[in-house]
Symmetry: C2
Subunit: 254 residues, 2 copies
DNA sequence: GTTTGTGAATCCATTCACAGCG
DNA sequence: CGCTGTGAATGGATTCACAAAC
């Protein structure tokens, strides 16, 4: 464990080794979800093996990930569910509330506004904004949609720190520039464009069609060998529930 | 290790068109989108530097990625846009049509059904299914929603090869088992659960709240140091368009 | 006995830097 | 010249495997 200095930030407090790997950060929410499910079932303690299975990763990875937060397990026993929930939540910053605004209330924006997973994780949707006069004024999930002209006001009044952009592609960069100018430093972008932002702003993007394209790539491989030609929408042949081939690939599904 | 697919491991091949790194595959759709935008602007030729900027990556990475597909550029000149579009499309399997079914037509499913990015990339939505009697029969984006009982029929009749699951969490695994039994080998999952599938099935998941949580983590870091107390929703102080600190962070959004 | 936490080994991805080609 | 394509170097992330802790 080389406590080599970290890339971000300077003031590392005496507390824990700051500098959790990005790949680990991306998995913590998954562990958290699995832990919440265990909590709901009344489970008090869990081993790395069990939790890993519930989260869909392997146990060595899980242990390494958790070790970046500290030593929260007990050898020979496992992890106390409640305690681990708290530690991960704290690390992710979910013990405080985050104020979110959603810009663009087409189908996707509506879906996001009503998404239960936000509220339950400490995200509070405080503003809905759109440019379309027919949408402005509508009530969606208990909030009235405001005109995009009010963007800066809404951000300032509610202390919005995360903006969710669900506008058409053409409008996204302009909206992004405005939210950044108004002080927002985290953006979740659903529009299919690459946003450019100042270096101190974080952007994450979700692109539905990209995910499908990645699936198509793998699907294509399964279907025909190197000699394309398989046709038939990439489906090998078995229409009813049998694996494409009895081929035994290495390393089973653990 | 759910979405795992092995495929290589025996038969080590030379530098064939086969064996494209997963990270590269995930970026090809981004390049493709940037190329389409260039095409629309009538650009015929592009350098790795320009295309990289449009796609939001650095040029060395772009060139390395493209080199996995073959040598499609001209030294001293760049890449011919149209030709590159074709090559990437072919590699991703987008020169054929993929038949998709969407299961679950709540807000999110509706958004997906109407998403333009699907049709434009060769994905044809051929079936919409839901369990809720109030939703069955509704027309959404030109298709009539069918009862989930018809799932296997729809998959068989239309040759569905990709299933998009947008059901509540509790229903997702059951639906997944059924689509897999019916022969689907690629699943795009929007439900917040880890699906378990046979090894020959690919799953990709999109979890909106996970993305927000990752943002929260970074936002928290920016806001206050280790000494909590910063309050104010993580927003540093500048309310109007000035960077939080004159600090020079490393690594921007690349 | 069981299970964690972690060095060491391995694998994968990114970046560098330049040879080679137009 | 300018720009691609790619070996070599670097840096992360994953996995292995086991000693330490309960």
């Amino acid at each position: 464990m080389t406590p080599r200095q970290t890339r971000h930030r300077d003031r590392v407090d005496a507390a824990r080794p700051r500098g959790i790997p990005e790949a680990t950060v991306a998995r913590l929410p998954v562990y958290l979800r699995a832990l919440h499910a265990l909590q709901d079932r009344g489970v008090a303690t869990v081993s790395s093996e069990e939790l890993a299975a519930a989260a869909g990763v392997n146990s060595a990875k899980l242990r390494k990930d958790l070790s970046h937060l500290g030593s929260y397990g007990t050898r020979g026993v496992g992890y106390e569910v409640e305690y681990l929930v708290y530690q991960i939540s704290r690390e992710l910053g979910l013990t405080q509330d985050w104020v979110v605004a959603i810009i663009g209330l087409g189908n996707l924006g509506r879906a996001l506004a009503g998404y239960g997973g936000f509220a339950s994780r400490g995200f509070r949707v405080a503003g809905l904004l759109d440019a379309d006069e027919r949408i402005v004024g509508q009530e969606i999930s208990g909030l009235s949609v405001q005109h995009i002209d009010r963007l800066e006001d809404v951000i300032g009044e509610h202390g919005v720190s995360i903006a969710v952009i669900a506008t058409p592609a053409g409008a996204a960069q302009g909206v992004c520039d405005r939210v950044v100018a108004a002080g927002v430093t985290s953006v979740l972008n659903f529009a299919p464009v690459v946003l450019s932002v100042p270096e101190w702003v974080d952007v994450r993007k979700v692109d539905l069609s990209i995910e499908l394209q990645i699936l198509a790539f793998h699907e294509q491989r399964k279907a025909g060998g190197p000699d394309g030609a398989s046709g038939l929408n990439g489906r090998p042949r078995g229409l009813n529930g049998s694996p494409p081939e009895p081929v035994q690939y290495v390393e089973a599904a653990e």
